[in-house]
């Protein structure tokens, strides 16, 4: 194929990546975006296969076949819950490939000019770190490696030594082009990847993977400098930059900083556990999580409780409901007979917010509906949605009729902590897999959810 034509086709591929990435960042278009990007990749591969002066197709085809098989099987087989670690593994393979490309290039011509050697060294370094780091992350998520941060005294110092050593051999490689130096760089970088990721807790792994992904983009870009390919440079830079932004977004959603995640996490991870919660942990969600879960639901049942009144959040709750309704979500309110602290407490609140009477449902009328409801949104209620009143004969509130929110697809609970309600007893609802806790004052928390929905 004509080199010029190939060049333009690579540009098209890069454009497809851009369009793909753009679409990937909105729920409505994400799937299409992924397909666009895949098409771009196919184009780039085909162009490469037909364009470049390729001597032997044997290894290439073998590699493509083996790689496709493994990739496809892994992608199809994995369970939903194991996806994050799979992404980590894939990322590791990508980084590894970049490192290997650099290695082959060096072997082909160890006497390359300095600038090529610099990029080879960088590509090898970053690629190898990505490789080993990603697989440690994989191990942590998969439970092979302990999810707990692995720490020991003097760790920082040792880490620093390894990092300096890696840089040193990389410098050696860049200046001499020695194959020995290459192996040294690869080895040192692999080690660095392992020691840098081990001390980070399992809950932070997604951020680490995203960051490594951004790095692997940079590695690809470096490889592009090496083989003088704009396609690689552009795509690598794209991933590098967007990955960095994404990492930043994720870190912000955790109310942390990237530095804090990568370096300062030598302390133990703080899991939210309530009094008497024992081994159970509740899943804490951000207002954005809550917003998207609600906005993409078909039906939502809102369960107000005393906390709604304490927070005086009735108006913002109503705002939330209108925002959802205007997106076509079916919204109902389930009023438990004893929610609040006086008979009719919820009626007073909802009347103040002018919620139409026909959206209010009694316990008997609404309970059969939870089964086919996407999301139950519990706002400052506790005892009235405590499943132990139904399931646990030893519970002091056993026998009280409750709202069966736990029968909905998803449960979102908005309250400030895991502390109990009026009856003073723990609520197993909070520890269900399907439950997200939004820990916030109801007025503030719901306000943030409303803003987040407006931004979807």
């Amino acid at each position: 194929m004509n080199v010029t034509v190939a060049g333009y086709l690579y540009l098209v591929a890069a454009a497809l990546f851009i369009f793909g990435l753009k679409r990937l960042s909105s729920p409505a278009t994400a799937r299409r975006g992924n397909q666009l990007a895949a098409a771009g990749m196919l184009l780039a591969v085909v162009v490469t296969l037909t364009d470049r002066q390729i001597v032997g197709y044997g290894t290439i085809v073998a590699g493509l076949v083996v790689g496709s098989g493994i990739g496809a099987v892994l992608a199809r087989r994995v369970e939903m819950t194991a996806m994050p670690q799979l992404v980590a593994a894939f990322n590791g393979f990508g980084g590894g490939a970049s490192a290997l490309v650099a290695a082959v290039e060096l072997l082909r011509d160890p006497a390359s000019p300095l600038r090529t050697l610099v990029t080879i060294a960088l590509s090898a370094l970053i690629g190898a770190i990505t490789f080993s780091g990603s697989f440690v992350a994989y191990g942590k998520l998969q439970g092979i490696v302990s999810g707990k941060p692995v720490t020991y005294p003097g760790q920082r110092f040792v880490d620093l030594l390894i990092a300096l050593g890696t840089l040193g051999v990389a410098g050696w490689l860049a200046t001499t082009g020695s194959p020995t130096a290459l192996w040294a760089v690869l080895g040192a970088s692999l080690l660095l990847g392992v020691v840098r990721v081990l001390p980070i807790g399992g809950a932070d792994m997604p951020v680490v993977i995203s960051f490594l992904n951004s790095l692997s983009g940079v590695a690809a870009s470096m490889a592009g400098f090496v083989i003088d390919s704009n396609a690689l440079i552009i795509s690598g830079a794209l991933v590098g930059a967007s990955g960095l932004i994404l990492t930043n977004i994720m870190v912000k959603a955790m109310n942390r900083s990237l530095g804090n995640v990568l370096f300062a996490a030598f302390g133990a991870e703080a899991a939210v556990a309530g009094p008497g919660a024992g081994e159970k942990t509740a899943r804490s969600a951000t207002p954005e999580d809550v917003a998207i879960t609600l906005a993409y639901a078909r039906s939502v049942i809102i369960v107000p409780g005393y906390g709604l009144a304490v927070a005086q959040a009735q108006h913002v709750l109503r705002e939330l409901a209108s925002a959802l309704e205007s997106r076509g979500v079916d919204v109902k309110y389930a009023i438990h007979p004893v929610a609040g602290r006086m008979p009719g407490h919820m009626n007073v609140l909802l009347a103040e917010a002018d919620v139409p009477y026909d959206q209010l449902y009694d316990l008997e009328d609404i309970n059969p509906e939870f089964d086919h409801t996407d999301v139950a949104l519990v706002v400052g209620a506790n005892d009235v949605v405590n499943p132990s009143a139904r399931d646990d004969p030893s519970s002091p509130i056993y026998g009280m009729p409750i709202l069966d929110v736990d029968r909905a697809q998803h449960v979102i609970v908005v309250k400030r902590s895991l502390s109990p309600g009026f009856a003073g007893i723990d609520n197993p609802l909070f520890y269900l897999d399907k439950t997200m806790m939004l820990f916030a004052d109801a007025k503030k928390g719901l306000g943030e959810v409303v803003s987040a929905i407006a931004e979807l």
């Binding site: 009023i335 007979p337 008979p343």
Partner: protein, 371 residues
């Protein structure tokens, strides 16, 4: 100008035509205010408060002999007025034309709030509106209190109580206020009126309008007021309202046509179809009542249904009703004084239209024609 505020003598009347705070304003404006002793007591204002505000407290004769006298209503017997006297009040000129004619013979200049035009500019003088506001509010409360049901919906451990149904007939000033008050309490409110603009006004308060298939009156030609309807329309209205009345827990009726007996909207049979324990508050009781069973001035129970025909509802909010009336009075004084002394300007349409009689003659066209 000397302003006289006599104590009210009509039975049940608790209001007063001027309040201490407005008294202060008038005194500051250069007027002298003479308040009859105890005039404000039943509205919650003491003589001392008037004195503190710069007013003088004196006997009835002194209040009545001022240059300008503001009264709420006229008691029995009619006051002795000199030919130079100027009187303002809710004098019921179109309901009691004979008393008016007798009063006119004194030669005094007589202004009735009832004759103030319902124009935008006249609103500060519009005591009908201000007092109807009080009447509508109180009527809704009396209805809610007398009903044996909760107005709001309540979901409780002892079951869910559905919201009560409130029906308001006649959506003028009082009717709208009754709607608003019942809605505040959480009731489901429906309303009916013959005026075309009423539907939108009712809905602007979150209540629903009952759309009977009767001609909607364009009020702009009648100064905002409704006209009497033909007999068959009357019957169609009653038939149309019957199911709504039967379903209501509280009915507040306010329908009125100035100077005419109140339109009959609820028959005895309609009352008997209501659930025992429900309530009708008939604000039109003074002019005969919108309900056939109403006994003006009394609260009766008919077949378990309480019918409030009390005519002193406004006096039950005497304090705030007097406050509003006092502002109306002060605004009127503004119109007829110049730099603290009387200057009747009959070129001003409000002053001209509000005047019922002067120089011993009835001057209001409505009374002149009829007489």
């Amino acid at each position: 100008m000397r302003i006289g505020i006599p104590r009210q003598t009509a039975p049940g009347e608790r209001r007063v035509a001027l309040t201490p705070d407005v008294t202060r304003k008038l005194v500051d404006g250069g007027h002298t205010v003479i308040v009859e002793s105890d005039a404000g007591r039943r509205a919650g204002f003491t003589d001392d408060e008037y004195r503190d505000a710069g007013g003088e407290v004196g006997p009835a004769a002194e209040a009545w002999s001022a240059d300008f006298v503001a009264t709420v209503t006229l008691g029995d017997p009619l006051p002795d007025l000199g030919p130079d006297a100027v009187l303002l009040g809710l004098l019921r000129p179109f309901d009691e034309p004979d008393r008016m004619r007798r009063l006119a013979e004194t030669g005094a200049t007589i202004f009735a709030f009832e004759a103030v035009p319902r124009t935008t500019r006249a609103q500060t003088v519009d005591a009908l509106s201000s007092q109807a506001t009080a009447a509508g509010y109180q009527a809704a409360l009396e209805g809610a209190t007398a009903a044996d049901r909760f107005l709001p919906m309540l979901t409780t451990a002892a079951g869910t109580i559905p919201p009560a149904k409130v029906l308001v007939l006649g959506a003028g000033v009082a009717g709208l206020q009754a709607i608003a008050t019942a809605r505040r309490l959480g009731a489901i409110v429906a309303a009916f009126d013959v005026r075309a603009a009423a539907a939108e006004q009712v809905e602007s308060l979150g209540a629903s309008f009952i759309d009977l298939d009767v001609e909607r009156q364009d009020e702009t030609q009648t100064g905002g007021y409704a006209r009497e309807v033909a007999d068959d329309t009357q019957r169609r209205i009653m038939d149309g309202l019957a199911p709504h009345v039967a379903a209501a827990d509280v009915v507040v009726t306010t329908a009125a046509i100035p100077g005419r007996p109140a339109p009959r909207l609820i028959s005895k049979a309609m009352v008997e179809a209501m659930r025992p324990g429900s309530v009708i508050v008939d604000l039109a009781a003074t002019t005969g009542g919108n309900c056939e069973v109403t006994r003006p001035g009394e609260t009766i129970v008919h077949g378990g249904v309480t019918i409030v025909g009390d005519t002193d509802l406004v006096s039950r909010v005497a304090h705030d009703a007097s406050r509003m009336l006092a502002r109306n009075v002060a605004s009127f004084i503004d119109l007829i004084t110049d730099d603290g002394s009387l200057r009747l300007d009959f070129d001003d349409d409000i002053v001209a239209e509000a005047c019922i009689a002067r120089d011993g003659q009835i001057v209001h066209p409505r009374l002149v024609q009829e007489g």
